[in-house]
Symmetry: D2
């Protein structure tokens, strides 16, 4: 399979290239970068010792490939994604540009109208654990955000089985700084991040509406969440700690049973019964660990997911989606264990 | 003032010694350590270049000092604290042993009966921003836990002014690993902590009841919280992100006004209007930064506090308490800015 | 190929298992651990989601496998390695127990006589870039130490071509703390390692004699080096900075030419012409980056190598050796790019 | 004493301000910053909760103060330092602009002619352990670089007593990234620095000539060193590992005696007899730890110094110099122990 990656010099794109190069059925045919066009990949990313050169983005060239991954900044995919969609090319888009079905959410959350609203709703939200069957027949997949992936994996068994109240959910999450990308700013300086934890982007983080969209599908109309992301001093890894109120007749046992029923056949999601998830075990992998703990005194559950934000939270999940779209074994190229320690 | 530190070889005790040695009115007269008795402090802690030698704990010797700090493991202070109390010595205790007024909470949260229940209620809960006047006249002060300090500083202006519902509060907090002490265990190995975030101790973390005790005093009977601590890959620093539901007629403006009214004259607490607190700015200091942000969509506030867990969360606050007890300027020995970067 | 790993619960053994599980021709048949015998691997190492259980070490069981890796503490391999050697089993040993040809070096550097001195000299020193042909025909390979791998890769082109004086070489190296293993000690506590750099183990680090043995083979009799290891606050990665005096007629151009001639066809070693190696690019990979810079004022070269201490410095190199021993493509299972960022 | 800091928004300047504010005899009267003029210090550096506002640099205003610290970029001090010198103001300059006596070294090492060569030689090289008496009577002090401070403290007792050969010395050093300043570049991004060690700036690092100048004064004409700096993943801290060849009749005992004789009365330098220095113990302090270890096999010593690059390597040493210049106790404002853990 000949594969294209548009935006292969950002962190997500580079991680995708790392995975594509090790994939038994994929060959990286085109890798684009506006900043590094003309330069060898291995000079920009010395960890990727492949004979590849960055090129400028050319939609026509990409259109001829078996699958194209768009790892472009939010907003940039609206046009290019629509062009590739029209050409019939299989596309997995990393941005939020096609994740939301309701066009009205774009001005509300992203500050401007969608450039190709007629395409909304024609892309599948690419969380395989929720939408595997639709992805299997799809040409257009909107790869979920990192925080939504974690939050949804934790909450899905609970909402799908009516085990928690759909309202009042709090998602407090922590991400490594690679989630903010390669861009330079004072907040990314090592001397600033080292020893530093902070909340940011509350309220109004752009990942909020896609979490709400998917939870609403699962749990009833119009779920609203309180979402608070944090930055922590590490490069990779994302932890979502979701707090919800128990529904009547709910219990830790029921939640555990629901989670095992949902995930025990999933290749990448593991339910931990006796431990809380730790991000360090997932580095570089497409895995997700989830756990459930109940505070009887306050009738609340914490549902926790750990992932690699660049793995299951971005590039790994994109490979998983492409495998499904192309009819390959879903785990192709994704079997490596996490890099630990 | 001649000062004693019992347990001066743990992280909190050593930080306290660092502050005592730099205090204009204090002289470290006795520093005890079971593990290191007989050894020079500067050989155990080369960062503390003072001519001091650890001794075995001797209550009678401590009883003659102007103030004694107990930085002993939880449980160990029950007896020693009571003995010093009987001798009339001024004591600041770092443990939870005298923080709770209700003896019934000890078996519930700590797994055994209190050894000196008659002394409970005679110690002042040493959060100066809540109990300054009582501390001023007290000989016995129970220094708050690190998480409670942060959570209470964030929530006090809200509950004291009826700006949030007292029930349903979620405190999601993150601490550097020094909070778990010097002890060796697999979870403290650098190779494990590096790149790792995890929740732990939920439900049932021992800091829960003291947060509830103080919030109940402020906000009405029987406040119950959901408290979720996390470990993050840094040595010092603690962030508490508290989520509460707005009361009727509440607003961000009202919260901000309440916080400024309460804290603008406090020497160590700063209200940030336009930024979220970051732990890196507080390292080594007794400062606390708080902020308030409201999500109108879900009628919730996040109230965030950043501190140094060993500073305002332990040793710094102990010095602040001792200053108040002894009639010294409250900021004596605590004016250094945080170590940043 | 059925593979055994003795000592698969240490960091090197676990990294080896990660690589074996992803290897196209290998199947992990037996994984032993004294500490964790009877426990599922994925419970001890949640990053390794494989259906494997640790067993006690049984030499007879191991003897029937296609290749056995010994990732045991130094000293423990002497007996077991000799037993497997007698059985004719292919063995790659991670320890220093069979790296040195001269039995007299063991009491000198390791403090006791070798337990199976007759086997010394029958093991090949498993640095493929030096001894590929011998490894190809060997059943017994002594996998090099992490520091020696880095130092030898940097210095080999210089000594083999007479471009530096063989005497007076200084190797100053820095390793992440995973190199010291899983064991708990005060020096491995996160709060101690964070923000900390130190030299250690000078003089007399146990890796010294194998560097000298191999340099002496290359550069003439009796090379003696000054070797100074350091610990730096990171988990993986190793940098060796080797300082040597230029031989007459030497030059940076000659060194660069020699390095390219030696390494350009090597699958895992890359010569950097315009940059110094950085450990971050090699994490999780079997790659090595080398560079050469000359100070004309002092007639000295610094030859630098970066590797992952657990990759090319241990488990990756062991796989490379096994591939060569078994006649597999040398890069099998080792093609993944480094995990960066 | 009214104090001015020009360039108080860089890392060194901000650390200086932290120390000045806690100094019993100093009052920060003027703090300048081109980037932040008009802004409150505590908004730029929330760790510095002082009522101060950055202003534009005004030489005339600075000239009226008791002492002025110049924490400006290299090159910028040439003119301003000369202007302040002419006004008779006491100045401590952080840059290399007045550290070297020989004007010819500036074009050689810094790429351009010195702008005020007549002032060279009128500034004292501000390493108190070498030049205390001259500093005491001086108005103009050139504060040493961080690497030179560490290297010179290690090597001084050896060269001053003829215990090592003055030629062939190798200085391999490692610094935290705060040493490179606040500036944004790809090499300072947390995701890049994390897990990364690299050499840089070899040959030709700008700190080389001042090390050579001072060593030549101590050890005979024309000492030439091989200096190799490294960056390691931490914010503060600097370790210099210096390798030298033993002179005839030298020994570890002689070195230890020389070091103790030289440093035991120094307030900030501690000779470690049984341990290697570790940077973590010096964070935020003006301390330096040195040690000596001998490799009899190769007749070499490693002399190691650990400091905080922003402390004894910059701002702490500047305070020490100012104390000496002003006749204050040399330790004023510098007695705090290092922040550990």
């Amino acid at each position: 399979m000949r594969v294209g990656i548009a935006g292969a010099s950002g962190y997500s794109g580079a991680e995708l290239l790392r995975l594509v190069a090790a994939h038994p059925a994929f060959e990286p045919a085109i890798v684009t970068s506006r900043e590094f066009a003309g330069r060898a990949v291995k000079d920009v990313y010395p960890n990727l010792p492949f004979d590849l050169t960055y090129t400028e983005l050319d939609v026509n060239a990409l259109a001829g490939l078996d699958v194209v991954f768009l790892a472009l900044p939010h907003g940039a995919s609206m046009t290019i994604g629509a062009q590739l969609a029209e050409s019939g090319t299989r596309v997995v888009d990393f941005s939020a540009d096609f994740r939301l079905d309701d066009p009205a959410l774009y001005p509300q959350w992203f500050g401007k109208e969608h450039a190709a609203p007629s395409w909304l709703g024609k892309w599948i939200y690419g969380l395989p654990e929720l939408h595997r069957d639709e992805i299997a027949g799809a040409a257009l997949v909107a790869n979920p955000g990192c925080y939504p992936t974690a939050a949804l994996l934790a909450l899905t068994p609970l909402l799908a089985n009516g085990l928690v109240e759909p309202n009042g959910i709090v998602v407090s999450a922590a991400s490594g700084v690679s989630g903010a990308g390669r861009g330079l700013n004072a907040g990314a300086h090592f001397s600033h991040v080292d020893g530093n934890v902070k909340a940011y982007g509350f309220p109004g983080h752009k990942h909020t509406p896609e979490i709400e969209q998917e939870l609403s599908r699962l749990g009833g109309d119009d779920v609203r969440i309180t979402f608070i992301p944090h930055l922590v001093p590490m490069t990779r890894g994302l932890l979502a700690t979701c707090v919800a109120t128990l529904a009547a007749d709910s219990s830790r046992a029921a939640m555990s049973a629901a989670a095992h029923a949902r995930y025990d056949d999933e290749p990448f999601v593991r339910v931990l019964d006796d431990a809380f998830p730790e991000t360090a075990y997932l580095a570089g992998s497409n895995g997700a660990h989830v756990s459930y703990a109940v505070d009887e005194r306050t009738s609340r559950v914490i549902a926790v997911t750990a992932i690699d934000n660049l793995g299951k939270g971005a590039a790994g999940q994109a490979i998983q989606n492409a495998n499904i779209m192309l009819g390959l074994p879903e785990t192709s190229g994704l079997l490596a264990g996490g890099l630990y320690p």
